[in-house]
């Protein structure tokens, strides 16, 4: 295959822990599509959550160190599959671009010049870069049995002045992607509604209510699977379904897949290869279509 | 070569053109000089090779040359033998209303580079520096084109490297450098005479009410002359390098012209004399032009 994409890969902490299957599925799918992912050497925390609410400079310095690392490796593009990582990296790039003093400060901290040539991509952008044609050609299994509700969450799209990615209120890019696999995207209300994010840890009650609302709306609009692009979203929508069930016994469970897992299925990989068996809400494709 | 001579002969004979500005050999096969051919039988004199250094477009605006085209109250075409880079100058002149496209007959060549100076064999060493960053070895506009493209001898673009090296100097150092260069100027205005874009009826430097440029060849007069010359050519200069070649004092005028070419290219994605359809950089604007240098 000619014109294969080469890109840097910033895993981030989730990919090595709770979202192991996201990492697994991304790597297998990338390989199948002939995309060469190079891990960023000695990467560190992206500066999310606790860092960026406590120390602005530190949070940006953390993020920029990763960019500089990638830059040193000669990478020009880098995918950050976790929406939070993506957001931190791209926001820090923006901050250092518009605030020269901050840039100077961080350059001093990192002892390295910031040139900012690395283009940070989110997972959807990675697939766009790989090309719809290429993905479509590689599809071996028609996922027509899936009625998918694509859930974007917040960090992928906002702030739109910085991300410049899709419409922040009515995004459609994920839908366009999954259509390539034969899965049918459903039109629903809460594509960008808040899932509760990091409240998942301290205030489970909030997350239970918020996530339930999202899941219910997806089901009400005919979805039999949800597709996400963020480990945090996945935690809240998949892992918290147990807690939802406890609170609301009538809750109807719905499996939640990472975008990469769904594409992996269409490329002919099995659930185990993609780590889908690790999810809280179990999911398997119907056997006869196999 | 024969193709060129035959073509010019035919064009003159059938009256398509009134005259053709071209090159002829000058004393040695490795040296040429401009010639204006008006009779078909003179076409035999014409040559085209890597020693055709002059930018003949400079003659197109001269009254005496223009008069050649004026036959019995009508205007005929003037032919010009132009390297693809010289065609830029013709185009720029058309854009600046100095001539009309239909009044000029452009005979051009697919260009394989020219030498820095007469008498040298064309190699990576001796090739003119403008050829090293040439963006149009095939003429962008022509009425007739000859020749085939061959590989160009490669060589690093030292001119650009030199320009870049100025970034590391302090303002004072740069000022010193250029002041010393300009101090050599003897105000002979050969740069102006050689420049196809310097066609003003009266040059700003010759204006006395008010006196725009100090005419004496002292520091102040030299600095302002060279600065104003460079500015008036900014975004108009086509980079033919004739001014530098003409300068008897070896002032590195190309360092300045090239810098301004780069500025126009970087800030406005503009190259002078490339496209008759696009508006000239000077004289047009974009609401979104950058302005971070403005407070």
């Amino acid at each position: 295959m000619e014109n294969n994409l080469k890109a840097g890969y910033f895993p981030g902490c989730s990919q090595t822990g709770t979202a192991r299957e996201y990492d697994l599925s991304l790597r297998s799918v990338a390989e199948k599509l002939g995309t060469e992912l190079t891990d960023v050497d000695d990467w560190n925390c992206c500066g999310a959550t606790s860092a960026h609410v406590t120390n602005h400079t530190l949070a940006n310095a953390l993020a920029m160190r990763n960019i500089v690392q990638a830059e040193k490796q000669g990478l020009t593009e880098m995918v950050a599959p976790c929406a939070a990582c993506y957001n931190r990296l791209i926001v820090s790039q923006h901050e250092t671009q518009i605030h020269p003093e901050l840039k100077k400060e961080i350059e001093a901290i990192l002892d390295s010049k910031i040139e900012n040539p690395v283009q940070v991509m989110n997972i959807v952008e990675l697939f766009t870069k790989i090309g719809a044609d290429k993905v479509k050609q590689a599809v071996v299994k028609d996922l027509k049995e899936l009625n998918a509700a694509c859930y974007y969450g917040c960090l992928l799209l906002r702030p739109s002045d910085i991300t410049h990615f899709d419409d922040a209120e009515q995004p459609t890019s994920m839908e366009e992607l999954i259509k390539l696999t034969g899965a049918k995207p459903v039109e629903w209300n809460f594509k960008v509604e808040c899932c509760g994010a990091a409240h998942s840890i301290a205030r489970k009650d909030i997350v239970v209510d918020l996530s339930k609302k999202i899941l219910d709306d997806a089901v009400a609009h005919g979805a039999n699977v949800m597709v996400v692009a963020c480990p945090m979203c996945h935690t809240n929508l998949d892992m918290r379904q147990k807690a939802i069930k406890k609170e609301y016994p009538e809750h109807k469970e719905i499996p939640v897949l990472y975008l990469t897992e769904l594409i992996g299925l269409a490329l002919g990989m099995d659930e185990k290869e993609l780590g889908i068996n690790l999810h809280t809400v179990k999911f398997e494709l119907k056997k006869e279509t196999a | 070569m024969d193709e060129l001579r035959n073509h010019v002969k035919e064009m003159l004979a059938n009256g398509t053109v009134a005259a053709v500005i071209g090159y002829k050999e000058a004393g040695s096969p490795m040296r040429t000089k401009p010639v204006i051919i008006t009779a078909p039988e003179e076409a035999i004199l014409l040559v085209f090779n890597e020693y055709c250094l002059n930018n003949l477009a400079v003659y197109l605006t001269k009254a005496r040359v223009k008069n050649l085209a004026r036959v019995n109250g009508t205007i005929k075409k003037l032919g010009i033998v132009a390297k693809p880079c010289d065609v830029h100058a013709v185009i720029a002149l058309i854009q600046e209303s100095q001539l009309k496209r239909e009044d000029v007959y452009i005979i051009s060549f697919n260009c394989n580079g020219v030498v820095k100076d007469y008498g040298e064999t064309l190699t990576g060493e001796t090739i003119a520096s403008k050829c090293l960053h040439c963006d149009a070895r095939q003429p962008l506009y022509h009425d007739k084109v000859f020749g085939e493209l061959k590989d160009l001898p490669a060589s690093p673009d030292e001119e650009l490297a030199k320009i870049k090296s100025f970034d590391d100097m302090t303002s004072q150092e740069r000022f010193e450098y250029f002041k010393n260069e300009f101090d050599k100027c003897i105000k002979c205005y050969a740069c102006r005479a050689a420049c196809p874009m310097c066609y003003c009826t009266q040059c700003i430097t010759d204006k006395t009410i008010p006196r725009w440029v100090e005419s004496s060849a002292h520091g102040r007069g030299n600095f302002s002359w060279n600065l104003i010359r460079a500015f008036h050519l900014s975004a108009r200069c086509v980079g033919c390098g004739e001014c530098e070649r003409a300068c008897p004092m070896d002032i590195p005028l190309s360092l300045i012209n090239r810098k301004m070419l780069e500025v126009a290219k970087n800030d406005f994605a503009y190259l002078s004399g490339r496209n008759l359809e696009t508006p000239t950089l000077v004289g047009s604007f974009d609401v979104k032009d950058k302005e971070e240098f403005i407070l």
Partner: protein
């Protein structure tokens, strides 16, 4: 040359920080100065007389007045110079007040600067040339662009004063947005009923030439002397034969294809149509884009039924030129269409409200049509999706306005009032219905306006919730409006049957293109700019072009009408004299030296540079040079700075004068 210098103390204003006697003493020594004095108030009558006497007694050729800003008193002192018999343009000013005494504390520094500025002015005035004001004749005809209420009012006022008017409207009928409205605030009188008589008056007025379905294509010339090219779009109906019987309209087989823009897309219209029954002129238009005849050459039902043979399928657009003295811009506004994400990067759209996605989420004008007795529902409240009567309606204000991040920063001004009106109209018809209004602030400045809003709240029981709405989504046939009640400090959710968005008034489509065609400046939103926000709100900065109505900024009907009458009055001021006088600050080309590169022509914002051919004895063109049309030139001098050979000069600001000032630093 004998120059007189007059230094003003401006009471204490200059005198406090500038040692005026010292300045005038210093000026005595400037070469060319033969007379130099200082005085308490130069602009006073005694001060001016002092200048005049000095000019006469000392035979001064030119004067320099060191006082306030030339923007303040240049006219005064030029007049004084003229009265005393010297050319007014041989008077220069040194700004010793705004630029010296008021901005510097140190007397020594200030005095030194005052001396320097005076010297610069003296050096400049030495090189001033006597100039004569330029006189141009005035064509006493007015062009009004836009036939909404502002255009109608302006046209009627000018015409009633006895001057001819050309009224150009791009739609097939005049009337504008006002003809779409149901009732008007704060009186709730019927919009059509008050508008229609005025439309008819325009149609019948002997001094008004009405050109509907027409657009201004080109404007050349200048104040008093515009040449305007107008494109009359092909109606495909011979207007001279059509009687307006409407038979073609009723018989046209195309019923469900064409978007009815008058009904804001909530109904269809035939391929041959008049926008609304009271249209003026009552002559239909054939819409080529939907008419079957233009698709396959068949049908032609209208031809068969028309007793007057007025249908002309092959009619072409016609270009008409008009000679005009003054132009009134009255092009109005449009509503911010939030369903789409416009290309302009600063408009982000409001996808979260589902406009365009949900049929029952509508904008203000659509609501007007629903509420209107002549509208698609005949004035009954029926929601567009299923025709049911909505029992709960939520109105959202400030959609697209007062929103830096997603819409426009400005306040759309009329929405508070029309939303109150909408809620009231709804409550008057649906007595058991509930109306909620989400607002940010209520801005109801205007006669009887606040009372009107109070009436909606207190008498009609409209529920006002202060807060923004974050999302509207559909659930089981209802629209869930999620918002915040900032007074209660609580998030709220309302299950509505219909949602009405008070979308912002924005500049008319292509307003900026029209502004460029006409040659007037516009702001970043596309609204036309007035010459001065406070003191010249009716004039554009281009002479002879005036503004009326919402094309300048959001306005309600009374304001638009007031502005239209003001614009009409301005044109009458212009028409009051037969000749116009202009300052002679214009560019001049030295044709001998001009190299004919025409960069001046490319940069001239007014297309004032023309090509002049220089011919030899045989009549052969030997050279083309630039030539400045005095009437068009506004005197910016951009050409002078662009000219490489310095062959063009700006009178009053010649390079020689400026060099002299620099030399005198």
């Amino acid at each position: 040359m004998k120059i007189g210098v007059f230094i003003c103390h401006c009471g204490e204003n200059i005198g406090r920080t500038v040692d005026c006697p010292r300045v005038s003493k210093a000026a005595e020594w400037f070469p060319g100065v033969v007379h130099s004095v200082d005085y308490k108030y130069m602009c006073s009558d005694p001060g001016q007389n002092m200048i005049k006497d000095a000019i006469r007694e000392k035979g001064l050729d030119a004067i320099v007045v060191g006082s306030c800003s030339p923007h303040m008193h240049e006219k005064t002192f030029r007049k004084a110079a003229l009265d005393a018999g010297i050319n007014p343009f041989l008077c220069e000013m040194a700004n010793l007040r705004e630029h010296v005494s008021w901005v510097h504390d140190d007397i020594e520094e200030a005095t030194q600067k005052a001396i320097d500025l005076t010297r610069m002015a003296v050096e400049k005035v030495k090189r001033n040339q006597p100039l004569a004001t330029i006189k141009v004749p005035v064509t006493k005809r007015t062009l009004v662009i836009g036939g909404g209420i502002a255009g109608i009012q302006a046209a009627l006022d000018v015409a009633n004063a006895g001057y001819e008017v050309v009224l150009v409207e791009k739609e097939p009928s005049i009337g504008g947005h006002m003809s779409q409205l149901s009732e008007t605030f704060p009186t709730l009188d019927c919009s059509q009923c008050i508008l229609t008589p005025r439309m008819v008056e325009v149609y019948q007025h002997p001094k008004i030439k009405l050109m509907t379905y027409s657009e201004v294509e080109k404007v050349e010339g200048f104040i008093g002397n515009f040449h305007v090219t107008i494109r009359q779009k092909a109606r495909h109906i011979d207007a001279s034969k059509c009687t307006g019987c409407g038979l073609c309209i009723t018989k046209c087989p195309i019923r469900k294809k064409a978007f009815n823009s008058f009904e804001e897309g909530m109904a269809y219209r035939p391929a041959v149509y008049v926008p609304f029954p009271q249209a003026v002129p009552n002559i239909p238009v054939i819409d080529e884009t939907v008419c079957t005849y233009y698709k396959n050459g068949k049908c032609g039902v209208c031809v068969k039924v028309c007793g007057r043979e007025a249908i002309m399928f092959d009619q072409q657009d016609k270009l008409v030129t008009e000679e005009i003295g003054a132009i009134i811009m009255a092009t109005g506004y449009k509503l911010y269409d939030i369903s789409k994400k416009p290309d302009d990067s600063f408009i982000k759209g409001y996808g979260e409200y589902g406009y365009g996605k949900y049929k029952d989420v509508i904008d203000g004008l659509q609501f007007e049509r629903i509420a209107s007795a002549s509208g698609p529902t005949s004035g009954e409240f029926k929601r567009p999706s299923d025709g049911k009567e909505p029992k709960k309606v939520v109105f959202i204000q400030c959609v697209g306005s007062r929103d830096d991040s997603k819409g426009f920063s400005y306040c759309s001004k009329i929405c508070c009032m029309y939303t109150a009106k909408h809620a009231m109209l709804y409550k008057h018809k649906v007595h058991d219905g509930e109306a909620y209004v989400f607002y940010m602030d209520i801005r109801s400045g205007g006669k009887m306006y606040e009372e009107f809003v109070r009436r909606a709240i207190e008498e009609d029981g409209v529920k006002y919730v202060r807060g923004r709405v974050s999302k509207v989504y559909e659930q089981n046939g209802k629209y869930i409006v999620k918002g915040e009640d900032t007074i209660a400090g609580m998030p709220v959710e309302i299950e509505a049957d219909m949602v009405v968005l008070a979308t912002a008034m924005i500049a008319q489509e292509n307003a900026s293109t029209l502004a460029q065609t006409v040659g007037i400046p516009y702001d970043k939103y596309g609204f036309f700019n007035e010459a001065h926000p406070k003191l010249r709100p009716i004039e554009s900065t281009t002479g002879g072009i005036f503004l009326a109505g919402a094309c300048q900024s959001p306005k309600d009907i009374p304001e638009s009408v007031a502005m239209a009458s003001a614009a009409a009055a301005k044109t009458m001021v212009l028409f009051g004299s037969d000749m116009l006088e202009r300052e002679p600050v214009v560019a001049r080309v030295n044709e001998l030296l001009c190299g004919g590169c025409f960069y001046c022509r490319k940069v001239c914002p007014y297309s004032a540079i023309e090509v002049r051919e220089i011919k030899d004895r045989n009549g052969v063109v030997i050279k083309e040079v630039a030539y400045v049309n005095d009437g068009l030139c506004q005197g910016c001098g951009t050409c002078t700075a662009t000219c490489p050979s310095k062959s063009v000069e700006l009178m009053g600001f010649t390079n020689e004068q400026i060099f002299a000032q620099i030399a005198a630093l």
